[in-house]
């Protein structure tokens, strides 16, 4: 184990919001100076935090992160105690992005590896164009609900949507949300549909797991429901275990509801649509 060396960076020195390029410069300088745990205070929607960082460091964000959090990064761990805007983990290669809050549209766009774990709700087009190669398998876990086009054009990896409502489970709303600040007993299930229309529309690789039922009219083009087997349980367990650890909820509670598995109808569903395919 390498020794943890912490540094705190104030993103609002003298009451003025630091521009994202300045902030990223400071982060990179801290990494060069041997710090491996960087705490960012007073973040107010700065974009591109941790962009392209290849070192195995941890960035802890207090406040609301802006667009493109952790974009292009390889092996970084980012923990956000607040919300993250759009394009969280855009083209992520490796690492772990954890959000104790909501993160809206286009999370994990074109991700090629790594894990994205979000406690709260998502927006549209989660995991669009996500892909996998051999051991590189991106995983997105959403604790709450997501909107339209979840897993659109997905080519690999895994998206899990749990439909858990954490909104009543925060012990002290004035403090930043951490693991300790979540009361596991007050976590509830969302009633009704937790995904919207066009789920996995145009999917041609990878799987989407939705906790609970998915009505057929919400399925996107070329997406089909598949039987949930023991093998799937095995695949899901590590990701769910990590989720339960991070967000302080018992694993049994997650397993209480059955999962719906969604996969592409075939390995090349669009083969005959756009190109001439001799058979």
């Amino acid at each position: 184990m390498t020794k943890v060396k912490k540094i705190t960076i104030d993103a609002e020195p003298k009451g003025k919001k630091l521009y994202h390029r300045e902030l990223n410069k400071k982060i990179r300088r801290a990494i060069r100076n041997g710090y491996n745990w960087i705490i960012l205070k007073n973040i107010k929607g700065q974009r591109f935090i941790g962009a392209g960082i290849k070192e195995k460091v941890t960035i802890e964000v207090f406040g609301d992160a802006g667009l493109d959090l952790g974009v292009f990064s390889e092996g970084i761990t980012i923990i956000v105690h607040g919300c993250s805007e759009y394009l969280l983990g855009n083209t992520l290669n490796a690492g772990e992005l954890i959000v104790y809050g909501d993160s809206w549209d286009i999370t994990g766009m074109g991700a090629r590896g790594g894990k994205i774990l979000v406690m709260g709700n998502g927006g549209s087009r989660i995991g669009i164009h996500m892909k996998e190669f051999r051991d590189k398998k991106p995983i997105i876990v959403y604790g709450g609900k997501v909107k339209q086009y979840c897993g659109e054009y997905m080519a690999g990896g895994m998206i899990i949507v749990l439909g858990l409502d954490f909104s009543q489970a925060i012990k002290d709303k004035k403090k930043p949300i951490t693991r300790e600040n979540i009361d596991p007993k007050k976590v509830k299930n969302y009633k009704g549909e937790i995904v919207q229309s066009d789920l996995a529309g145009g999917i041609h690789g990878g799987t989407v797991y939705i906790r609970g039922d998915v009505p057929d009219h919400n399925l996107g083009v070329y997406a089909v429901k598949d039987e949930f087997t023991d093998e799937d349980t095995e695949i899901l367990t590590p990701a769910l275990k990590r989720f339960s650890e991070l967000f302080n909820i018992p694993l049994d509670l997650i397993w209480k509801k059955k999962f719906t598995k969604i996969r592409p109808v075939s390995s090349r569903p669009f083969g005959k649509v756009y190109t001439y395919t001799p058979i």
Partner: protein, 380 residues
């Protein structure tokens, strides 16, 4: 100090910033908050336009229309004044105070408080006056013409606009703010948002690709689109749908929003029978009012009563976050959550569903845009 050897810090990104703030108790608040909200999203603009719309400004002239103009010179002002005298009684006029030294060149900004001669069709008269000034009086541009409201805009950074008009000294109960990143049309004073007609003001992030269709539809209805910007069609469409179409006042905003971003036919097929009938009727009747292309908008209006609406396209291609303060006194809309959290640390925030409007109307329950449209209201 500016560096000549390094890349400038303010780089262009592709978005507009929008923000809205509405005090649900109708208490007037200073513009400081909305200024802070729009300033935090500085990455979203590139200094080619910013603007504010404010409601509840003129307690002395509540019943008069306030025609606020930007003018090239006094000659243009006299031309406007002469034109106004033909159709209205000018009750009062004043120069809008601005701060020197923010921008080198700026126009003359003037406002007239007027009563129309034709009281019955007052709204239509003012609408036509606004259209005429913008189309036909050289050197004059009408910013707004509503009651108890005004629009402040120009071709600068939003923060500079706030300084220029001294927004923090103005008090209003409803505010909207826009910082512009022009994509299709050049940045100019008239092209900045909000676009306003009568008591409606629209700020917009995105683009309306159905501009041509909408423009032709509006031409049939007597609106001239001469400002070279797609957003103006939204303002005119909204004015037509809300004021002229004669829908029940309680649901008129929801119907207008449904016409701008109607549900898909496949979703209409699954609706309960009564709603299905209405959604079909709206889609067919206002076929040409459908706004296509990515957009998220904030509409502020005083018709039929003060209302703030946040709306987006059906695929949610532009961001919009809504929030209510913990004491439920203030309603917020913004492109990014950080803008809301800059002024209020509320935990009561949400992202509205694609194509469904968030509507906060004075004295009514807030429609959060997360349920079926027109829900719970029976339409006869």
């Amino acid at each position: 100090m500016t560096s000549f050897t390094e890349l400038p810090l303010t780089r262009d990104h592709d978005a507009c910033g929008i923000a809205g703030l509405f005090n649900l108790d109708r208490k007037v608040i200073s513009g400081k908050k909305i200024k802070e909200m729009i300033e935090v999203m500085k990455e979203r603009e590139n200094g080619l336009g910013g603007g504010f719309a404010a409601y509840g400004l003129f307690p002395r002239f509540k019943e008069q229309y306030c025609i606020q103009l930007i003018l090239d010179d006094f000659e243009a002002k006299e031309k406007v004044e002469e034109f106004l005298k033909d159709y209205t009684d000018i009750i009062e006029e004043e120069k809008v105070l601005v701060k020197e030294g923010i921008v080198k060149e700026y126009p003359l900004i003037w406002r007239f408080f007027v009563d129309t001669n034709d009281r019955e069709n007052a709204n239509d008269v003012i609408k036509d006056i606004m259209m005429y000034i913008n189309c036909s009086i050289r050197g004059a541009f009408c910013l707004s013409g509503g009651k108890d409201m005004a629009v402040f805009k120009g071709n600068m950074w939003a923060a500079e606009i706030a300084e220029f008009y001294q927004i923090d000294k103005i008090k209003a109960y409803m505010w909207s703010a826009h910082s512009r990143f022009p994509t299709n049309t050049p940045g100019w004073w008239g092209g900045a948002h909000p676009f306003s007609i009568l008591g409606h003001a629209v700020i917009h992030n995105g683009e309306i690709t159905s501009y041509g269709t909408n423009m032709e539809y509006l031409k049939e209805l007597g609106y001239e689109c001469k400002l070279l910007t797609d957003t103006e069609v939204l303002a005119y469409l909204f004015d037509f749908l809300v004021r002229k179409s004669g829908y029940p006042p309680k649901i008129v905003h929801q119907i207008a929003c449904m016409a701008l971003a109607p549900p898909y036919w496949r979703d209409i097929d699954r609706m309960p029978p009564e709603l299905k009938k209405w959604a079909t009727a709206i889609r067919i009747t206002h076929r040409k009012a459908m706004a296509n292309g990515p957009f998220s908008i904030v509409i502020t209006t005083d018709f039929p009563k003060p209302t703030m609406i946040g709306h987006s396209d059906r695929k949610k291609l532009r961001p919009l976050i809504a929030a209510i303060s913990e004491d439920e006194s203030t309603f917020y809309l913004a492109s990014e959550l950080s803008a809301i959290h800059t002024v209020d640390s509320t935990t009561n925030f949400w992202q509205p569903d694609p194509g469904k409007p968030v509507i906060a109307s004075l004295g009514e329950e807030i429609i959060k845009g997360t349920k079926e449209p027109l829900g719970g209201i029976s339409i006869k």
